[in-house]
Amino acid sequence: MKKFVALALLATAAIATPAMAQSATGTIQVTGVVPGKCAAITPITGTITLNDISTPTGTVLSSFANNSGGLSRSFTVVCTSANASISVSSDALNNSTDSSTGGGYTGRVHYTSTLSANKAGGGTATAVYTTADVLPAVSTTALADRLATGPNNVTVAVSNGTTTNSGDVLKSGSYSSTITVTVSPL
């Protein structure tokens, strides 16, 4: 009988102890955000130097062939979004002292800015802006793709100098303009 009691107690204790080792469990969520954003890794700045923009006869040199340093500038931009838009606008090249037009002369030269962006899937998207006496709205184009990664993936180029009246002689002086470039996440 004693043997029986002893065995019974031991067996009970042995079984009961594991049932009392209670665990606390749960799950912790970890979240993060990557917003759609674009950033210029190389600053979108610089100067395109056209030098003499006139022909020997005084009219506009439409090719800007006297430029130094080339007619385009490239920048490195990153965008996290699946799509992005590129926008470009500018004012005309205006004579710093007299940009008026009259009497066969002009102090204003119009031109075209072509903004292109490399797409991740290949090819480019372009936004084209041509100045006029009444400036048009900003030109915006969606990439319909991710912006390609890599250096110099966004390029702006100038071309096609014109005057309002094609035979006008350019007034001597300095001419300047500013191109505004924007790459936005979509």
Partner: protein
Amino acid sequence: MKKLILLAIPAALVASPAFAQAASGSVGVTGTVGGRCAALTPITGTFDLGELSLTNGTIDTAFSNHVTPLSKSFTIMCTSADANVSIDATPLDNTGDNSTSGGYTGRVHYTATTVFQRVSGTHTYIYGTSNAGGVLAAPLGGRLANQPDNVTLSVSNGHTDNATDLLKSGTYNGVINITVSPL
């Protein structure tokens, strides 16, 4: 603990738009147009006056025997707001003997008149070889008109130092120089 999580979620939703940044910048474009003038039609040619004398041997002041017209037009372009014009001319000198004496002369004077068309009005330069005043130089006083044949040169008023002098036979040559420079 549940309340804390519920508060944190709205915070994340608000934060996202604030990060939707664009990459933007500007590129300057510069150019120049130097002040310059160019002859789009060359300033050259010849006034062939033909026989200079009247039947009595004195100068035909009207150059009425001229072979070519007594005026020529040129097209000049200037990019500058004004231009300086310089004109001088030499008399018609007999290539063999241009002296004057004894009632004869080998020199014929004349007037070179140059009319510049400006954007507003005209500007006229008159140079007489008998005045021998050196180069006539003066600003145009405005932009040169941007049009063909905007400069016209004419010769007139042939004369001799002594009005009754007889012209020595021979060939007579003179030169008119015109310079247009940007100001």
